[in-house]
Subunit: 329 residues, 2 copies
């Protein structure tokens, strides 16, 4: 496979001139340009990014950190990131951490070893201390999930308000016994969503029942089933469930069905995220739609600006409550 030397030789010019033709930024005579392009064609030459990247001290690769690839919540975000990144000639490397520090380290190392130019972290479980430390020397953006007050720019939605609106919807259609299926409150968004839940209840003078608040380790289908099993065993059974992820809600749905109960007549269900599957279930799921694609493009743009050394500010995007069959029948 040809290199730039051979192209230069074949075209009868110096490597500098070939490089000028390649990058297109410098002035080259039309005639020389043609000679060079012919040589490139003839030799089937493709410039090596290995050489270019070393010289430019960049890899043009950005890392996306997600806890698991199995949660469809990330799809649209990833698409947004990818499209923005590709348009700026960056490639994305998808990094599944399984929320394990040792896998995280593998990808952090890629950054330290210059194999990546920056990170978009969507992993709430990520080691915040390490992230903060890395952020001093490398470009890092938090997307969707974020640790507040650690000085790393983020893009997200107002979780408290979204949660408030979801619960308010349930109250407005007549529910007063509403369960909250939340994730571990070590995550900021979990605390915010509980606060929104409480605010909606308080506003309508509904007393808080601690039995109605459940915590799950992860946001998956099985955890939703498990939590729903517990809810169904409560003496004073709730008439509605607000789950902080669609997968949890879908698990709940399945469990309610298995118990021979009807959604939404016996128990109404609200999810969070508006993943594709939320529309495929029976009944279709009422859910909070995050602007995922937008989130992705914004995060990518922020990261690229950060890589270029520009200052970037955090962004809070809007959301939308999508009302479907699981609350209105």
């Amino acid at each position: 496979m040809a290199n730039i030397q051979q192209v230069a030789k074949h075209a009868g010019v110096s490597v500098a001139t070939v490089s000028r033709v390649l990058t297109g930024k410098n002035i080259v005579t039309a005639k020389t340009k043609q000679k060079v392009e012919e040589a490139i064609q003839y030799l089937n030459y493709e410039p090596s990014m290995l050489g270019r990247n070393l010289r430019n001290s960049e890899s043009r690769i950005v890392l996306i950190l997600i806890p698991t690839i199995s949660n469809p919540f990330y799809f649209e975000i990833i698409k947004g990131i990818e499209n923005m990144a590709l348009s700026q000639n960056y490639s994305i490397l998808l990094c599944e951490t399984d929320s394990k520090p040792e896998k995280e380290e593998i990808y952090f190392d890629l950054l330290r070893k210059k194999m990546a130019d920056g990170i978009i972290s969507m992993d709430p479980a990520v080691n915040v201390e390490t992230l903060k430390e890395l952020a001093e020397n490398y470009a890092i953006i938090q997307c969707s999930e974020y640790g507040g007050g650690i000085g790393i720019p983020y893009v997200t939605i107002d979780s408290e308000e979204a949660s408030y609106r979801a619960v308010k919807h349930l109250i407005q259609i007549g529910h007063r016994k509403i369960a909250l299926m939340n994730s571990d409150e070590k995550f900021l968004y979990a605390r915010e969503r509980r606060m929104g839940y409480e605010r909606a209840l308080q506003e309508h003078d509904i007393p808080l029942d601690p039995d109605y608040i459940l915590y799950t380790q992860e946001l998956g289908f099985e955890e939703g089933q498990l939590a729903m099993k517990k809810i169904l065993k409560l003496e004073d059974r709730p008439t509605a469930v607000f789950a902080v992820s669609d997968l949890l809600a879908i698990g709940a749905l399945k469990e309610i069905n298995a118990a021979g109960l009807h959604v939404p007549n016996d128990i109404a269900v609200v999810g969070f995220d508006k993943i594709d599957f939320s529309n495929m279930t029976n009944p279709a799921l009422t859910t909070v739609a995050q602007p995922m694609y937008k989130m992705g493009t914004v995060a990518a743009r922020m990261l690229i600006e950060k890589i270029q050394g520009k200052p970037v500010d955090s962004v809070v995007l809007g959301f939308e409550l999508v009302i479907r069959e699981s609350t209105t029948g």
Copy 2:
């Protein structure tokens, strides 16, 4: 950020010695080794992969080509590939082609420009001619979907047999009017699955009804709904549907429910792939389980061997019919 020169200087040795300590393959005195390690520690040095990769003429990155990230079918395969790759110090770059040649080209270029060492293609829509051409100079493996007879090693299952077994199951539980929801027969696997379907029918003297065979453009939920709508309009309505992907089957499920019919009492449904969601629906889906994780690890191993210049042979893995509520109630 420090480079190898500075480490060498600080440790009072040559860069060669530092490199020897880094790679660990050459003999270095315990004393010098310690000096170097202290310098590395002191300077917070991380070797740059840009330099190393240029010198070694490798990127240690492999590409995974998938049509869309939204189909959960790819999850487990990707996990398999990733784990095997990581264990061999490769990183994976997930490439969504949207089945568009122009996006494909972006990723092929990464290979040509030495930014990637090889490709695992799972995209049946991939331009076979280009792929074949690339395979002459680069390491390429086909996974799950493959073009036969083009000399590129693949790992897959026996689609014809799997399809045969799925349809046979439907026949054994009493069905004779069985629809096939297939994808475009430009894909080899689609042709193979139709053949399996026909073989099962023939074996039980069930005449082929062309109205019972439907073709969809893609393998998603909406296409399943659409196809099911058509099936429900048939005068002589089938009592069972075999869909060549779980997403199609889930779309069918939803549509059957919407029509007020019951699965499996009115219509039984069988899917293909055993994606996570096939278990989350109501009722849970009978489906053909592909050994996806295994497929991923095998494909990754094959690719790495190919990169190392070793000869590799294609592999056909087993499958399993998972019988659940959508056929047996």
